[in-house]
Every structure is written in structure tokens, then in C-alpha cells.
């Protein structure tokens, strides 16, 4: 029995035993059946029917409900609850008085009292004090200890130490992708590194203030948020899932929120054998803030599909990322092999752009040929510091024939 640690302290009349409790398991006997015309006749089936561990009316399925205290315990993982039976028994024929029972968890960094000190005025011969203690495991490592101290008769005392390891349950890997529009795509890989399959009950990204989260882990064409991982939330041993999130700056928040590099944290809840629960939060997910250009130039509207030889418009936003005014002139020029041509005046001067402000501009083009075409050829000239910013290959349109 690995689950029991008994420290015999021979000279004391009262003895302390400690047992870590794992969830009970459902026991099933071996199922053997036969035709009643086979040699054993009805005997084997009768044994099965009589067996107290079987499921009535489906005896050949090993799905009985006979509970057993597990002989071999699963590991205790970070985020799960340490559950322990403390059993203090007077094994002498003398009554023992003035008992004080105390228990604490001792980890690499902290001492956490989880019981008492609890006083009992006396313990009769062969009587016991039974306590179940609980503790949510918030620290992983190999040096966790449950220390139980017992004092009695105002002069004697002893302690029992129960050590246990706390391995990590899940392996999390994250990757960030920054876009020019100041959105962040977050990729999270989660791997079950426990020794048992689990069911992931909750896996969400709680964003920091200032960010909106768009979870991209549901099928688009389903009515009710169907997970891309299917109906089953089961994560097998060593299995990895990949989640994807898009974080954008919260538009309702103040105009120019301080750009924080803390995107938020993951909140994960799982259950395993018979509902053993575990919950962890990741440490803050921190991204590297990309060095911003002077200007953020991005498309805010562009038709997916346009007709050949017809004019189309698209809109771009131009954002001043610097703490100074900008005076911008928009120049467009046709590229040599381009199948798109500008149908607008080049050299329009925009209104003065204050620090961190954004301006939207409409551009017009005409498609000269079919197919997927690339938009290129915009230059922004900044007159105050006399700088030029070029934007090529920043958008695509699909050009088709107008059949109507």
C-alpha cells in the first residue's frame, strides 16, 4: 500500500496514521460468459449474474458501480486538492488527556497551517480521533510535506511527516503573432503530461483590461458554439491540443490606452478519475511589444471581389504613432506589370495629423485583368521631417468578369 505511511512511535500510547486519499475507483471482475450449450452450461453466466460488481441487465459490460478505495494512488498534481485522512488512535488501555493535534503543509517556500491546533480533552482507550484535511496544491515540486504534530498529557509530543511529490499536470506553450493593426494572435498548445486521461472542463483566456478576446476554437458554421475538438473534452495522456485566440485593443476603452504587454492569463479546469478536480491559472502571458513604425498604415475596407474594368474603392487608416504632428501627402503610382491602375489624383495633402491620431482615406483603382491582384504603389510623404514611407503589396483583390 503505497498510500499509507505509518510512522510507528513505539513509546507513545497514542498513534498517528496518515493516508492520502484518492477518489474511489469502480471495480470490475473479469467477465467470462458462454453459450448454455457449452460445457460449463449456465454456471459461468450464473457466476457473473451473481457477482456484486456487475451492472445489472448489461453484465457483459465492465461498468459496475462497486467502489474500491484505490490500492495504487494516482499522482497528486499541481492544482489538485490534497486530501488526507489523519487517524489518531489510543492504542493503550489508559485514557489519554489533553491532546492537541496540529497539521501543516510545508513546501519549498511556505508553511501553510491546515488544521488546528485542535484540542481534545481526552481520548478513551482504543478510541480514535478522525480528521480529513484538505489543501489545494498551489506549488509544484518534490519537497512537499504534511507535518502532523501531536501533544498529549501536557508533556509529551511527537510528529509524523508525510511527504509527497507534486508534478506538473499540463505543459503549456504559447506563441504570439503581432499584426500591424495592433492585434495579437495567440497560439496556445496544451499537453496532458499526467499519467491519466483527463477531461478539460474549462480552458479560457482571461484577457487583461484593455484587450478584447476572440476565441477561434469553435466551428464557424455551427449554430451553437461547436468546439473544433469535437464532442469529447477528453485529453488523453500525452495528447496535445492547440487553441487560438485573437486579441484586439478594447475599442470602448479610453482612446489611447497604455499599451500593456500583459495580455492576460489562461484559466484551466480539468477533471480526471471519478471527478478528481484540478484547476490552474497560467502566469501572465507577456508579449514582446513590437517596435512601432512612425506610421501604421492598414486597410480597413477592401472588397474581396471586383469586376474587371470597373472602378473600386478601398479605405485605409493611417495612424500617427509619434508624439508630434504629421503633415502627410498621399502619392500613388502605377507599378509596371500591375493589373490594377489608380484612378485618383496623386499628391493629395491630408489634414494635419496630431500625435497618435488616425485618419481614414479612400483610394480608387480600376482592375485591368482577371485573377488575384496585388495592390501596391502608395507613398506617404511627411512634410515636416521630410520623410517618405512606401507601402507595397499590402492587399489583394480578386478580379472577375462582370457577366450581367
Amino acid at each position: 500500500m503505497t498510500s499509507i505511511e505509518v510512522k510507528e512511535v513505539v513509546e507513545h500510547p497514542i498513534k498517528l496514521r496518515v493516508m492520502r486519499l484518492g477518489k474511489p475507483v469502480m471495480f470490475n471482475s473479469k467477465i467470462v460468459t458462454c453459450d448454455s450449450k457449452d460445457l460449463p452450461g449456465a454456471a459461468l453466466n450464473a457466476h457473473l449474474k451473481k457477482d456484486v460488481t456487475t451492472l445489472a441487465d448489461a453484465e457483459t459490460l465492465a461498468a459496475g458501480s462497486f467502489l474500491m478505495v484505490p490500492n495504487v494512488l494516482e499522482n497528486l498534481y499541481l492544482g489538485e486538492t490534497f486530501l488526507c485522512y489523519i487517524y489518531l488512535k489510543n492504542e493503550s488501555s489508559q485514557t489519554v488527556y489533553d491532546i492537541i493535534l496540529k497539521a501543516e503543509i510545508d513546501t519549498a517556500t511556505s508553511h501553510i497551517p491546515i488544521l488546528g491546533p485542535k484540542a481534545f480533552s481526552k481520548l478513551d482507550p482504543y478510541a480514535s480521533i478522525d480528521v480529513i484535511v484538505k489543501h489545494e496544491v498551489k506549488e509544484h515540486g518534490s519537497v512537499n510535506k504534511l507535518i502532523c504534530q501531536v501533544e498529549y498529557d501536557r508533556k509529551h509530543s511527537f510528529e509524523t511527516i508525510f511527504s509527497y511529490r507534486v508534478p506538473k499536470p499540463l505543459d503549456l506553450k504559447t506563441k504570439f503573432y503581432n499584426t500591424v493593426t495592433d492585434e495579437v494572435y495567440l497560439e496556445v498548445q496544451v499537453q496532458n503530461i499526467m499519467s491519466t486521461p483527463i477531461s478539460l472542463e474549462k480552458f479560457i483566456l482571461e484577457s487583461s483590461i484593455g484587450y478584447d478576446v476572440n476565441s477561434m476554437n469553435h466551428l464557424l458554421e455551427s449554430s451553437e458554439d461547436k468546439s473544433i475538438f469535437g464532442d469529447m473534452d477528453i485529453l488523453d495522456v500525452k495528447e496535445t491540443r492547440q487553441y487560438m485566440y485573437r486579441l484586439s485593443l478594447d475599442k470602448t476603452a479610453e482612446k489611447n490606452p497604455t499599451r500593456t504587454n500583459n495580455l492576460g492569463k489562461l484559466d484551466i479546469l480539468w477533471r480526471s478519475n471519478m471527478g478528481t478536480k484540478g484547476q490552474i491559472q497560467s502566469s501572465p502571458l507577456v508579449r514582446q511589444i513590437p517596435e512601432l513604425d512612425d506610421i501604421t498604415f492598414s486597410i480597413t475596407y477592401l472588397p474581396d471581389m471586383v469586376f474587371c474594368e470597373e472602378q473600386f474603392d478601398f479605405t485605409c487608416s493611417i495612424k500617427n504613432n509619434r508624439n508630434r504632428d504629421m503633415q502627410l501627402v498621399v502619392e500613388v503610382s502605377d507599378e509596371e506589370d500591375s493589373n490594377l491602375a489608380w484612378t485618383m489624383i496623386s499628391g493629395i495633402q491630408l489634414r494635419l495629423l496630431p500625435p497618435y491620431a488616425t485618419i481614414k482615406t479612400v483610394f480608387s483603382m480600376v482592375a485591368l485583368n482577371h485573377g488575384l491582384q496585388v495592390i501596391s504603389g502608395i507613398k506617404l510623404k511627411e512634410l515636416i521631417l521630410n520623410r517618405t514611407y512606401s507601402y507595397n503589396n499590402f492587399g489583394h483583390v480578386f478580379v472577375t468578369q462582370n457577366v450581367s
Binding site: 450449450k37 449474474k49 441487465d57
Partner: protein
Amino acid sequence: MDRKTPELRPAINEYFKDPSPSSNLFDNISSHAATDSKREEPAVCRIFQQIETKKTDIFDIIKPLEDSHNNSPSFDFREPTFSNTGNNSVDPMDIFNHEYELSSIPAEDERRRFAWIPSVKTKNTLEKASQMNHTLPRDMLTMPGVENVNFTVKLYENLVSYLGETEAAAFKSKTIDEVPQDEQGLKLLIEESNFSEALNLTTRLLAMYGQGPGQVGYPSKHTKTSLQLWFTRFALLVKICAWKIISKEALAWDDLDRPDLYIQWYKELYGNKYGTLVPFSFRLILAELPQYVISSTNVYSKLFEVLVGVKKIISNLDNGLTEDGRNVELTIQDRNTSKLLWYSREARVIHSIINCAVNQKDFKLAIKLLKDLIETPRLKYTIEHSRSLLSAMGRIYLQVGDLKAHGYFLKSSRLKPQSLGTLGENKADYRELIDAALLAIAQNNYKEAYKHFENAYIMDSNKVMALNNMATCLFYEGQLNNAITLLEDAIQKFPDLALNESLLSNICCFYQFQNSASNKQRLLKYHIISKYKNSVPDIIN
């Protein structure tokens, strides 16, 4: 000694009393054991049992008819005298419903039960030749032999030394030399759960076929009877978890597909008949073995091979052929009976695969297969069977911690027949209580679970399980002493059912934790009795 109901929540001090003297316990056991002789007919797990002709039990459609008794070639089938289904009303335990008219001609029954499709290689051999005109090369022969193991455990003497002659007598079962040295004797030993002696008898009987100890690898003769002996032996080896022996003995059988295991090989014996000598259950046991043997690489492959075989047979039947694909006319009744048989076997194999998957913690596979059984049944299930499947599904979900289990338990509840009588309109039935209790445990609510189990205990169903589970809940609530008392109660009240590996494992765990001298004595006794009774593997150490 006959308390009406168990004192489920006695005053706490009652538990601190010295435990009841063991002599009482054993009085009780012996009296119970005496009444045990009027056993009931096993009504359940009808997979591969039989019933009265036109009734609706798929697992039982292979029942021999009255007039077929004497035709049964190998075994004189003894009608159970304790049958309680004398009336022809529909047995509520039936698992499948169907509206077919069934066939009951013994020769057809033999063909259906022993039908099997040989592999292409074997089929070629069988088409070209038979035993009369051909000798198989050694590598195509099936040459089994039993391991040289004596299963006799001298436990009865132990029992006498603990209990005294009188009390021990109640547990005395026949020894190998007190029964006829044939299949009948073997059956007697199995009925008494004397698996060790039954195994020894199979050793003796198989030696007469040249398949005894040390005879592995030597050519010997196969008959339906010898295969039945082997099946029985394997079934018992599984029961006592003798994995080492069984995996050694299984080697000689390979895929059960060599020509000498087919009926058509023995034309001079069986005439123009087709099929296999191998009982279907033997095939299944061999397919289930890899999961118990540590070195196995693929625990599923053999099971799926059997499933594929069964599916081929079903498709042959659907296409107007015989089971093994010959173009022979079958009567409608014959064909329908065969379909029922093979659908039931298909379900049985799928059950085995699900069990294997659960055993491997391969819950996704188990859930998929079970879902398929629930959603697209090949035959109409009885309500109780449907409910059991849903409960099973819920329990598998619970094992992987998924509280969607609740949904399946609810579905099972909805199938509950509307109250037949006056009372109990909205009262939970046994099944609902157990399911609710399991769910409560998943939510760490042992108090509520205890209440559900307690209510279930009052109902007349699996009381030992209810008591054991109540004890388990008490233990998790910090009531070790009460838990022990409940389990001891269970042993006193239902010694025959309660003294088994699972309950002993619990009481053993509790005793160890409590660590009092009297416990050790009692535990030893429990072990000796249950070991003697069931040949359970030794767990005392």
C-alpha cells in the same frame, strides 16, 4: 442474529464496542450457506444462453428444445431443476426484443453456433483435402498441451482449523475424486465454484486426448468435446487470473484457424458438415487475452479480427447465403434465428472491446463504441438493457472525470417505465439512486452519495454493493470505524456474495489503517473462506 435492517447510523459509541465475537459471524455464514442450495436460475447475462422457443431473448435463442436433448452430441444438457421460469410469460430479464419466428431444429442450431469463415489459406486447404486423404504439415497442425500445474490448494484443512469441523462443513465442496471423471463432474465442480479442482479435472481429461502436461507440440486429436474442455479450462484460468499459464497455453492455438479445427476437415466423422470445432466463447477469450499480458503490443487487433469475422457472417446472412458464405437455401426461421444469434454475438464482442478500452483507459474508443450501440442498435433492446447501456456510458464518462455523465444518467431516468403501482410516482428507482450517488461522489459530496446508496440498500437489489459503497463514503467522510462495521455487517448478512476480492480489498485497506490485532485475525479468516470459495488471487500481502 437476524436484524431486520442494518443499523446504518448507530450511535457512535456502538462502534467503539468490541467487535462481535467471530463465532457469531460464522454461525451466520454457515446458515446462509445452507440456504444457498436453492439457487435461482440465472436470468441475466443471457448472452449465449437459451430460452423457451418463441420468446424474445436474443442471448438465449440457442436453447435446445425438449426433443433436442438427446441429440446434443457432446453434452447431455441437464435442464436446471431450479428453474423459476416455468411459466411461459416473457422473462423481464430478456435483453433484446424481436418479432421473428425462430427455428428450433437441432441440426440447424449446430450449424449456426459453430459457423465460422476460414481464412483464405485454410479455405484452400479445406477445399482440396480432408483428413481422409491428406496429412497436414506440422506447421499447420494445432498441437496444444496443458501446462504442468497442479491447482490444488489445501485450503479446506485451513478452514477446518479456523472454523472447526461443523462450521467448515458448510463450505465443503467436492474434490476432484468425488465427482465423475467427465464433463458432468467438471460442471459440478464449476457450479460449486471449486475452480482449482475443476482446472485439475480439465488437466486429467485433456490428457486423455493427448493434450495433457508435456504434450504441447505433439499431434493430437481435436473433437468438439476436447475444444469444449479447452474453452472451460481457459474460462477458469481467466476467472482465477492465471495470466502466465493461460498465455503459455494460448500460444498453440494461434488464430484458431488451422484446418484441423474445422469440421469439414473430418469428413469421416461429421459427414458433409461445415463449421469450426471452436466454441465462439473460446475465440472471444483468446482475443481478450492480450490486454492482460504486459508484453502485448496491440491489445485490440484480435478482438477486432473476431468482430470482422462476425460482421462477415452477418453480411452473408443478409445476402441470402449461409453464415460461411455458401449458397445454400435456409428457411426464413433458420435465417432469422441465425441473425439474432450473430447480432447478439456482435454485441458481445463490442462489449469486450469496450471493456478492453476502459481497461486501457482508452475512454474515447469506449465512448464511441458504446454510443454506437446505444444509438444504432441492431435489435430492439429491452428498456432495462437500454437503461443499463446509458448508465454504463455515464460511468465511463465519470471515470475520465467528465460530468457530461449526468446527461446520460438523465436519459436513463427518462426511460424509466412510468410507475406501475400507486406509490413511487416520482421516487427514484435503484438505478437512479446508484447513478445519482456516483455523480455526487464525482462532486465530492460523499454525504449525499451515502444517502443515495442507503436508499438503494433498502430496495431489493444488489445490497452488498450498496453496503460496500456506503462504507466507502463513510471512510471518505472520516468515519473509519463505521465503515468497517458496515463491511463486517455485509459479510455477516451476505457471506456468499460479500466475500469476494473487491470487498476484501476494501476491508483489508481499512483494517490495515486501523491496525488492531483482532482485525488481522478476522481478515485472515475472510481470506481463507473467500479464497476457498472463489479461488480469488491472494491479496493479503
